[in-house]
């Protein structure tokens, strides 16, 4: 009985610690991992670069990858590990912001590790001019479908 009480109290404390929400959106995050795609690449990536710069200013974000076509932009980012409890809230927030800022593009935001990897690979291909516009469009469509997949 006594052991049970101690364990329950410890469990409750752990739960309370995890449920705290922090609302600091301070600027000037120095250690974000992202790479701007050079302007001389055949497919214009200024929107993506802009989005990446914007997001990197948020403190919680540790790395961003983004790719855009004429009509769509897909982004994937990673956040600090101890903020993972608020992952959905942060994602929704960023989705809203990106929609507002890039109202001419259809923006899809994801926090999935797979998307981070895939978009990163895509960025590299664009940077090395290794991919055609048509193929890019196909890849972006595939990745958007992957994002929407639930099971």
């Amino acid at each position: 009985m006594k052991t049970l009480k101690i364990l329950l109290t410890l469990g409750l404390i752990c739960l309370l610690i995890g449920c705290t929400t922090n609302n600091n959106t301070s600027e000037n995050n120095q250690n974000v991992n992202f790479s701007t795609i050079s302007a001389n690449s055949s497919i214009d990536q200024t929107a993506s670069n802009q989005a990446k710069k914007r997001l990197s200013q948020r403190e919680v974000i540790t790395s961003v990858n983004a790719v855009n076509t004429d009509k769509q932009m897909i982004m994937a980012f990673e956040i600090e590990h101890n903020k993972r409890f608020q992952l959905t809230d942060i994602r929704k927030d960023i989705q809203k912001n990106m929609n507002k800022e890039f109202s001419d593009l259809k923006v899809e935001v994801s926090t999935d590790k797979k998307l981070v990897l895939e978009i990163g690979k895509l960025e590299e291909k664009i940077d090395q001019a290794n991919i055609s516009k048509k193929k890019l469009q196909k890849e972006v469509d595939r990745l958007i479908k992957l994002m929407k997949d639930k099971t």
């Binding site: 999935d112 590790k113 797979k114 992957l146 997949d149 639930k150 099971t151």
Partner: protein, 159 residues
Amino acid sequence: MADKKKKNLPPAAQRYQTFAKHREVKRPLLINCIKAFLVGGFICFIGQIISTIYVYFFGFTEQTAGNPTVATLIFITMFLTGFGVYDRIGQFAGAGSTVPVTGFGNSVISAAIEHRSEGFILGVGGNMFKLAGPVIVYGVFSAFVIALIKTMLIKWGGI
């Protein structure tokens, strides 16, 4: 609950039960909890490794990697159960090996192995879910109740 049952017994029986309690070797609760915690965590760690492999080397996202991970874990459980290793892990870890999905797999697989001697249809088919049945029944039932509550809240509560 146990005390209520005890009150229905004649006084001699109640006295004996208190008397016999002294000689009963108690389960070492704290050590069992620690063992369960470590083994359960280890199984989840293995699951995470498998999940990450599916994300990195196959076409799954973190979301969709859940299904093949569970399938792989149950496949491993099948071997452990068949070779008679899982019950030893269970005796050591208790809830640590029963609660994860591997425990569910073990309950179905062990029942299926056991009742092979009674034939495939009535024996294996009929007895396979002897232990897992309540999990499925009450899992589905509680999901139904929660969905009902949620629907009512959305429709009438405007939440």
